[in-house]
Symmetry: D2
Subunit: 315 residues, 4 copies
């Protein structure tokens, strides 16, 4: 595994020097001021060893990466009945599109577009106060990452609440079709706070281990979810995790991954590694520009693509 | 590997007895008369051993499964310049939708929807007579399958030519956007004949070995395509291979696969197996109903999902 | 003009006895309980004479018919600069569709679909409290109808506010594109109250006179708007006044008209008559079923279609 | 009527000197070479008097203006059963859009978009050879215009056949839905030839008289169609005659009109005038730029808008 350490540092070095860093998301004001020069990377391998480089300890807004943990939480609550309210297909449209909702009568195409994540928040709310549901999700993520210092960035949460008109539109639109059980402001409250969770690459990679390990918390650890559920969440990440660039990410990187507009990406090499990468500049599809490139380099160097013959001798 | 033989027979038995078989495709007249009671299955494992059951020797119309081989052929001709003319994203719409083409100015979303496959045929035509391009594809498939008896079903090809109005529309529509270099009837001629290739499950599984083996023709054999290209074709099969049910197939089966309306599916477990399954009855998304179910059973029994931790000890 | 009186009574009689009355709008609870057996009709001719029959004095919820008066009010405030924020084309989609807004970046296609009417409400709000804007509109309508008894049905307004999730979605969606200057709840407050204005057929026909009279309040009366503006509002009513059934209404009736889901329709025969008709049962496009039929009969009997050669000797 | 003559000449003079003339249609090669400096205008009033100015005798390709005459011909053949195969609503999309056809299962929204006109051609073909149907339409137009010199421009017809890929796509797409009874190339043959009819403004205005005169061939002449049918064709021209700019044309001009990409427009002031205008430069919606402006001027100067109070004393 010495190789992994070397790869992590080489990739971090290349990215630190890369001239084209993309555009920082501007529609959530506090995110607009993040320094685009930053790059962080952390890999946890299946033996539990952590390899970090660059700004791997710097907390950033995980935004839509939180949808993976919230989905896991919702499946724990209602199991496969979730799929009556949200689909499992790539959307073919941008992350915040409302067109598909009209065509398909208020049923979002998958749990990783905003509309689908709002349904997931609605499930997690489960009749409680928003802060109960948010607290529960935060505790779950802290448990996964083995880190009690993970918090919500209230400045970001407030900014989302003040400017998240498209999300308010999506929630009310689904409410009109009967696919929201709580008052829209309550569900939106859960959603906005979940997006505002701040984590470092190290914390995020640690929190993603259960998806690498077939549902186990850590090597030899407790079972968080069944092996089948872990496989299925990975499948959804691969087909839907990068919005309308999911096909391209699968083509270039070949790993299940979920991106957020804060510039973070969580990628999973099943049985091999959980990878967190962060760089705030985004490409035209809203995914971290250098984060995607870094994962492409890592997949190449390690041979971890899920589409490679296994036992390739390189890992 | 004795297990694989047992699994193949058990699955074939279960499917032979299954009461709900779906609807045979009716829009291509010769396909409408195929007996829905049939079910064939063949698995070639990475050691080259073949396990077959049911109607595994019965030739059927491979239809859109041919798009995998035609794509491989086109990438061999023009390399990554192909991606200037066709995308790599799931479509979010049915296989024969024309809506996306209008929105995206004549560029099909991926090479596995009909419009994208027409662009691939246009590339393969390369200024020759249609029969030259078709002959070349047929020779390529015979070489992959090591079987010179594979032929085109001319009755099916003629029927497609007489009733394929939507495909004629798609070709002319792309022509209007300048994304077809030959006269539409020539490109369509290649496409209709390619869809009419008839293969048995055994032949199809053999022909798919190069995608399991990182691009090698057979265990220890010659290189057909690079390892990277094999990975990428697998990635496209996973995200786009089942039209607007690709997400569900990834969720349930977890393997790259390409289906055809003749009822065949080619699925790849990288490094482990190439699987061909056939049952003519289709589900509402146009994919083989029992074929999909059989692959779900096989993935479960073998643990071959690309989303499982590898080295699970089961294969 | 004796003829008009006879036509009014004959049509009212035919409609009273008509067996198929359509479905009463159910999504706004107080409207769902309106007796579908009712039918009212009132025609004011260019000489100021009123002909009424049936339930012509019964107040009903004018709903989207209010969009005509609100548009007139907004054009008075901001003139043709309104058209920077809303288009003038038929939508090709249902009245509450959000799809078009996404395609056209938050600019509604016309002021008579809900999204466009919300922009108009936003203009009329003009930085004041919602009740100021509503009061102003109500005064304008009372002045047009010469009737101080016209009021807002607060039960209906409250019900709209509680269940109008699609309108809330539309408002927030436009806010996201910067096409709403006030907080969405304020603009929605104006809109919901405007829709809840209750008027009888007599009041509505009287209020519509200015559109028949080239912008004059009443025969020989004061000018409300310019002749050009009156023509243009009539043009918009003809091309966009019946949502996605506007073409059919023009084809069958041939008069500018605006319908509401309360079952009312205001139709204008320029230079000849202002016509208000009401029957609560709707057809599949959300327009009054018997109201439309009654207008078809009236247009036939009077020759008032704007598409007839004038000087037909019948009016 | 001396006024009309003066208006015609003043408008022609203003347009001849106008600096911004739009872009000549380039996708049909022979049309691309037409001199954009030309402008013709001819008005026939209800007394049969003709007023012409500018290049009013110059023949041009009438293109989509032919759809009015072809629709009249088809309604004569099959009456209102035509409406089972084509709608009567504005499309909300460009003239050659195929999106709407997919959503509405092969039924075009109206007879004036290309898909709808293809259905009309299919009706007119009626089992005969294309040249029979074309000959019949040409005879009908010559009869209406009282001019035997009107011919088809074979160069244009051939160019359309060679480059009309979107129309070929539309025809085949409807064929796939069963909404084309003849082989697509036959129906397309009729359509392409009909579009290639060449007429001068004088000929076109004369041919349009029946729509001004409630269905009569000429003042006091024979009945061509019923008064109701004339009204209804006018209604369709108003709501659908300028593609996705029909609402704007109604707003600005206020007359039923049909435009063609050759730069011609036929407009009808019912009971008052038939107006033909021609200038080859188009605006961004594909309608004659100066033609539209000229009609706006004429409608203003004459008070002929169908949305004005009649008896305005000006005509």
């Amino acid at each position: 595994m010495a190789d992994i350490g070397r790869i992590v540092h080489e990739v971090a070095q290349e990215m630190a020097a890369h001239p084209e860093r993309g555009e920082v998301a501007s529609y959530i004001p506090p995110l607009a001021h993040v320094d685009p020069g930053q790059f962080g990377l952390c890999i946890v391998t299946s033996d539990g060893v952590t390899h970090a480089a660059g700004d791997a300890e710097e907390p950033f807004s995980i935004q839509s990466v939180s949808k993976v943990f919230a989905l896991t939480q919702a499946l724990g609550k209602v199991g496969d009945t979730l799929w009556r309210r949200v689909g499992r297909e790539p959307s073919g449209t941008p992350f915040n599109s409302i067109v598909q909702l009209e065509r398909e009568q208020g049923i979002p195409r998958n749990p990783f577009i905003n509309a689908g994540a709002l349904v997931v928040s609605d499930v997690n709310l489960a009749g409680h106060e928003p802060r109960v549901a948010i607290g529960e999700l935060l505790r779950f993520i802290r448990y996964l990452a083995e880190d009690e210092t993970i918090v919500i960035d209230e400045t970001v949460a407030r900014a989302e609440q003040e400017t998240g008109f498209r999300n308010i539109a999506l929630a009310n639109y689904m409410k009109a079709f009967g696919n929201l059980t709580h008052a829209a402001p309550l569900t939106l409250g859960v959603y906005f706070h979940q997006c505002a969770i701040a984590m470092s690459c190290r914390q995020l990679a640690m929190a993603g281990r259960y998806l690498m390990l077939g549902g186990l918390h850590s090597p030899g650890g407790a079972r968080v979810i069944s092996a089948q559920r872990a496989r299925r969440i990975n499948a959804l990440m691969l087909t839907c995790g990068h919005y309308d660039a999911s096909g391209d990410f699968a083509f270039r990187v070949g790993l299940p991954g979920k991106s957020g507009v804060g510039g973070g990406i969580l990628a999973i090499a099943p049985g091999k590694a959980a990878i967190a990468v962060w760089s705030p500049g985004l490409n035209e599809c809203g995914n971290s520009r250098l984060g995607t490139l870094a994962l492409e380099r890592i997949a190449e160097a390690t041979g971890w693509s899920v589409f490679s013959p296994s036992g390739s001798g390189r890992s």
